[in-house]
Assembly symmetry: C2
Homo-oligomer: 136 residues x 2
DNA sequence: TTCGTTGTTTATAATTATTCTAAAGAAGAT
DNA sequence: ATCTTCTTTAGAATAATTATAAACAACGAA
């Protein structure tokens, strides 16, 4: 459980003003035991349900993008009409249950090391992501 | 080089009527040495340039979806506003040059074996895809 | 070949996720 | 308090994709 005060500091440290909208979004996103996978729409609805004061959709977009830029959220590469984000920003991978459209974390040790034995001149590797699609 | 006749047969065998639009699309897609990565829009423009008779955007969508369903095209999981497809439907992986928005094939042997040491009851693995993002 | 059926193409409208805009509001520094 | 700067917001704009329904083309049977 992270306190509101800690979110305020986290925001300040990132030169993001701690507005009540951002603090609300922090609480919905980061006050959790487990990793959280979501789309903007998921998040928007959760906020509507869970918090008294309302937050506009535009602000949810703005905030998620700001958090992503600051490295507090990770974008998950997946083919879907919506963009998925993850509160777990450590290096890790995913199962995607195609039928239920649900993501499940794979710990790094569940996948073992991935060796990329090819390189492109002038480019360096930014990230390596494994997506394991599941079917019934 | 695959002949028009072969495309016609391929289409017939897939219970897709060999229309002139579909044959044109086949020629643009499959008459190539190397694997081809594309978005619908890329393909639409290529067809406009390369073929005399014009094909509507809706038909390009329809046809790409039909080919994907039949397993002649593979959808590449990637975060982009547009959907990427690949004419290489074998099991393989990709580099994605984030700056240039370009995909590069990684042969399976360039990546080494990927061992998934976790399973979800009642589900089986459909595919394992690695996306390696590149930066400068 | 002709006819009827069924599948396909097409222009256009509709839908959906996302981004943009500009005005009002709130936070921070002085 | 006041000024500046950042943020929020509703709503408009954009862009990819999907749906619609009418015209058209392929196929099979007579």
């Amino acid at each position: 459980m992270t306190s509101k005060q800690e979110f305020i500091e986290k925001l300040r440290n990132s030169s993001l003003r701690p507005t009540k909208q951002r603090i609300n979004i922090c609480e919905v996103l980061f006050n959790r035991d487990k990793t959280f996978h979501f789309t903007i729409n998921d998040l928007f609805n959760l906020i509507k349900d869970r918090t008294a004061d309302k937050v506009s959709l535009a602000t949810v977009y703005n905030t998620v993008h700001a958090f992503h830029k600051k490295g507090y959220l990770k974008e998950i590469p997946i083919n879907s009409n919506q963009t998925y984000f993850d509160t777990n920003v450590t290096d890790h991978h995913h199962f995607f249950d195609v039928k239920e459209e649900k993501l499940i974390d794979l710990k790094n040790e569940d996948v073992g090391p991935i060796e990329i034995q090819k390189s492109i001149p002038g480019k360096k590797i930014k990230s390596v992501e494994v997506l394991v699609k599941l079917e019934d």
